[in-house]
């Protein structure tokens, strides 16, 4: 036990105790009262004095008790604290959850605010400044200070502060933790914490590094709402993880899925599909509005039942009323002949507002312009191109292409969305997107080797958009060119002697290269070739946003295509902040700071691909009801700490309670006392 205010209390004691003693030796002034006879009074007094032993002691006993009361009160003023086992830890890591569910409002503040306050309270209670006098008392063995590290995590973990003992700085840094709309992923935070625990961390000295070895493991304190869906990690041996749970709100309705895309058959229509789910304990009714570029286009009223247990069937209803489920899926079809942002919004206010709206970016209905450079000897190739939904697709021979080269480029950029070269490779190319079939572009870094004959395909990347739904199992190649690729090239398919299909982006030019001629393989006769052509044209033509997942999750990296001419673009975040991005050599700018949900707008980007919607659409984050089951980490239950617990609790209440008990005792004794 230590005291925070010892000097102050000592000063008060120095004043109060002598005053009490002086008062005690002053004679009691009695009120005079007439009575008819003192006969019986004197007798009663004498009787009592004779009957009670230790009569002399009693006066002193009262003084003694009063001194005890004073001592207890003054010790309470000295703010006594006790050191718990937590305060004796050499290292404490505080993990603060700042995922989307922590944005749920609990009254006036959010869960994250509560978590931050818990962390601040904890940090303040560690390394309390004690009086110098006290450290003299402990015979020079000053208690080793507790090193505190703070990590904030959502889907990614960030070190808020490395190990330090500077409480003020820690409090300041904790207060500055910003909320995110990310998912919860504890494992990265644990990895980060253990990385720091293994080393001394920046700022640690050699001796601290030695002390932080396995024999001095840290205590990890997780402050979260307990919604931790992905816990596969464990803490290292010797370290312990404890949970401080915050948050009690349950009421939330969220959009858990949103998909908006142009229908392929009628590109001027947009299909919006969404799923709304009630996570709250009561049935609700809410309006769902769909906005196009901020203009309301459709409203529907939803009635959702209260959240059932996970995986439970919706309750069977009686015949009259249709059964209410806690989940409802809706579809809207809206005419839209331009690029727009679709926003779905729930009108009801609930604890978590992040999932009450969802955005989707709809590109303009656009058909591609494709230039095909081919000698035209193989009519099936032309028929494949013709079958694609394209704006225009002029066929030219290589000779015509060379002759009219200047017409095909505008300001150093290709006038067509995609240029297909069939068994032909020009010397120079303007910036643009190119599909090479049976030819290799003349680009620095790509070396053409000897021919490879009569082989099948060994491996291909089925997940790449270009090869999606394209089965290459029975493709045999009569002759292909072996190539050596620069490291940044992306291989999409490989034959026995190396890559046969690859993607390479450099200097604002994007190449998709097939190293064998289609007619020298069996591929031309297969359906997968048509699919490949369709995918490749769409991919190169920039409409891959329809192939890409529509919905970006918070924390996802934005890949922003930049016009080849511009050196930088400006990105406007949903909160209004402006970020300037510089594209890399492949003409893409990357942005990873998408912690918040909303619409990210690019100024100076490619038209139709300059807006990005980041949505929560995550059931586990929207389900903000505190879990009833204890948190289990690596098959072990995580101990929960009481939320108000601190490392060095103040115990002045005990002293005040003792003082009150003593007052009662003193009053009792006083009442039994008789003095003449």
């Amino acid at each position: 036990m230590s005291f925070l205010n010892l000097w102050w209390a000592a000063g008060i004691a120095a004043i109060v105790v002598p005053v009490l003693l002086i008062l005690y030796f002053l004679k009691l002034r009695r009120r005079e009262q007439l009575v008819s006879s003192t006969l019986l009074w004197k007798r009663a007094v004498q009787d009592l004095q004779v009957n009670v032993p230790f009569q002399r002691l009693r006066k002193n006993l009262l003084l003694f008790l009063q001194l005890l009361i004073l001592a207890a009160a003054i010790l309470a003023l000295a703010r006594p604290i006790i050191h718990t086992e937590l305060a004796d830890q050499a290292r404490v890591v505080i993990l603060i959850d700042r995922s989307a569910s922590m944005n749920a409002r609990e009254g006036e503040e959010t869960r994250l605010d509560q978590a931050k306050e818990e962390a601040v309270r904890l940090v303040r209670s560690l390394n309390r400044p004690l009086g110098r006098w006290w450290s003299l008392l402990s015979f020079g063995q000053s208690k080793p200070q507790t090193q505190v590290m703070v990590i904030a995590f959502a889907d990614r973990a960030t070190v808020v502060s490395p190990f330090t003992t500077n409480t003020g700085q820690l409090v300041d840094l904790i207060r500055r933790i910003e909320p995110t709309d990310g998912q919860t992923d504890l494992s990265e935070a644990l990895e980060l914490a253990q990385a720091y625990m293994a080393s001394a961390g920046p700022g640690g000295t050699e001796t601290e590094a030695a002390a932080a070895g396995p024999e001095f493991p840290a205590k990890l304190i997780l402050i979260s709402d307990g919604k931790l869906p992905r816990v596969g990690k464990t803490v290292s041996a010797g370290s312990t993880l404890e949970l401080i749970r915050v948050g009690r709100a349950q009421d939330n309705v969220g959009i858990t899925a949103l998909r908006a895309q142009r229908s392929y058959e009628r590109p001027e229509n947009v299909d919006v599909l969404l799923t709304v789910r009630n996570f709250g304990p009561r049935p609700i009714e809410t309006d769902l509005s769909v906005y196009l570029d901020g203009t309301i286009r459709s409203v529907r009223t939803l009635r959702l039942a209260q959240a059932g247990p996970v995986g439970a069937e919706p309750p069977r209803s009686s015949d009259e009323s249709p059964a209410l489920a806690d989940t409802q899926s809706l579809g809207f079809s809206l005419p839209l002949d331009r690029a727009a942002v679709v926003e779905a919004r729930l009108s009801r206010r609930d604890a978590l507002s992040v999932d009450n709206s969802a955005f989707a970016v709809i590109p303009p209905p656009r058909k591609l312009r494709v230039l095909v450079v081919s000698d035209g000897r193989y009519p099936f190739f032309g028929s494949v191109i013709r079958a694609l939904p394209l704006e225009e697709f002029p066929f030219v021979t290589p000779a015509e292409y060379e002759k009219r080269r200047s017409e095909y480029s505008v300001d150093g950029q290709s006038a067509f969305d995609v240029v297909v070269f069939d068994k032909y490779s020009p010397d120079r190319l303007p910036a643009g997107n190119y599909l090479f079939l049976g030819a290799v572009p003349n680009v620095e870094g790509i070396q053409i080797g000897p021919a490879s004959q009569n082989h099948g395909l060994v491996w291909w990347d089925e997940t790449h958009p270009v090869l999606r739904h394209a089965a290459l199992e029975y493709v045999y190649v009569a002759e292909s060119r072996t190539v050596t690729l620069p490291p940044r090239a992306q291989v999409l398919a490989e034959g026995p002697d190396g890559p046969v299909l690859f993607r390479y982006a450099v200097d604002g030019r994007q190449y998709l290269v097939l190293t064998f001629a289609v007619e020298s393989s069996t591929w031309w006769s297969k359906l997968s070739f048509v699919i490949f052509m369709y995918n490749a044209i769409r991919y190169l033509g920039g409409s891959e946003s329809e192939i890409q997942p529509d919905l970006l999750r918070p924390g996802a990296t934005l890949r922003i295509p930049v016009p080849p001419a511009s050196a930088k673009v400006k990105l406007f975040r949903p909160d209004g902040a402006k970020v300037t991005l510089v594209p890399d050599s492949s003409g893409l700018a990357y942005y990873g700071g998408t912690e918040r949900v909303g619409l990210y707008r690019v100024e100076g980007g490619l038209p139709g691909r300059d807006r990005f919607a980041v949505n929560l659409v995550d059931e586990s984050e929207s389900d903000i009801a505190p879990p009833t089951a204890p948190l289990v980490l690596d098959h072990r239950q995580v101990r929960e700490l009481a939320s108000s617990r601190t490392a060095t609790p103040e115990v002045w209440r005990w002293f005040i309670g003792a003082a009150l008990l003593l007052v009662l005792l003193e009053w009792w004794i006083y009442n039994r006392r008789v003095m003449i």
Binding site: Q33, S36, L39, A44
Partner: protein, 303 residues
């Protein structure tokens, strides 16, 4: 603590109301002993004398009045026997009233209460042609009114009772000694006091007993004495002798006071019972008419 001058008493403080007096007329004072009276009265006397009630026979001796010879006996037995009749005489009723300063106390007032009881007893005595003697005492017999007889003196008795001031401290022993010397005649003696006497009550009662009187003690205490409404650190001052007692009122002390008071009263009662004295305790809260009409009749003083 009523210190109202006696003259200014309101009608409800008058000693006897006419209604109560009519009720009192039906009563008479009894004595368990038969005493020799002074004058012809309405009470049986020890003396044989002239009345209608037969008492005894005795042998004729020379000089006896021949009128009282029973001639019927003489005819039968041929012996002269004298027929004796009971004599009826008056009764000495003596009332001793404590008027020390401690009686000027309490609500209801002890002194007034005691005077009322005295007035009632005196009135009963006067109505029945008894000799009524009134003494007021504190440390001495300060006021007295002796030998009053006949109901026409009622107003004088009440005037006397109203005129006695409170003074001095009570000293029953000295007063009883003096009373025993001065008081002639026997009869009923009623002492009205609080018996809170620093000198003790035993000596005084012994002096009274020595005269073979029919003794009644009525101890009157006020509610303030039975259940003191006191609190805090006090310096208690005795109204009689300015004696001081410093007390800190507490529950144990109050309990001790009450048990002491109880023991004091019980001691007085036991002392009286052992000596054939009728003891009666009353609080001034008990109406004095109740005391007179019920309690004193139960104790045999009144009929």
């Amino acid at each position: 603590m009523a210190t109202t001058p006696l003259e200014k008493r309101s009608p409800d403080q008058e000693l006897l109301s006419p209604e109560f007096m009519t009720r009192l007329e039906r009563l008479e004072i009894l004595s368990r002993k038969i005493f020799v009276g002074h004058m012809k009265g309405e009470r049986r006397s020890k003396r044989k004398g002239q009345s209608v009630e037969f008492a005894d026979y005795r042998n004729y001796v020379v000089g006896d009045d021949l009128r009282f010879l029973d001639w019927n006996i003489y005819a039968r037995l041929e012996r002269p026997l004298l027929k004796l009749y009971l004599e009826e005489e008056d009764l000495n009723v003596t009332i001793l009233i404590d008027v020390s300063k401690s009686m000027d106390w309490g609500d209801p007032h002890k002194g007034l209460y005691v005077r009322r009881v005295a007035a009632a007893l005196a009135y009963i005595g006067l109505v029945n042609y008894d000799r009524v003697n009134l003494y007021a005492y504190s440390d001495t017999l300060s006021h007295e009114m002796r030998g009053v007889r006949g109901r026409r003196l009622t107003s004088q008795v009440i005037q006397f009772l109203e005129s006695i001031p409170y003074q001095g401290r009570s000293n029953l022993a000295a007063v009883a000694k003096r009373f025993a010397v001065r008081h002639v005649g026997k009869g009923v003696v009623v002492v009205l006091s609080d018996f809170l006497d620093k000198g003790g009550y035993a000596d005084g009662i012994r002096y009274l007993l020595s005269r073979d009187l029919d003794l009644y003690l009525v101890q009157t205490l006020c509610p303030e004495e039975l259940d003191p409404p006191l609190a805090g650190d006090l310096k208690l001052r005795d109204v009689e002798d300015d004696d001081l007692a410093e007390v800190t009122i507490s529950k144990p002390l109050l309990d001790r006071y009450r048990s002491n008071l109880q023991a004091y009263c019980t001691g007085l009662r036991d002392y009286c019972v052992r000596r054939g004295i009728t003891y009666l305790f009353t609080s001034t809260r008990v109406g004095f008419d109740v005391l007179v009409m019920a309690y004193l009749r139960q104790r045999g003083l009144l009929r």
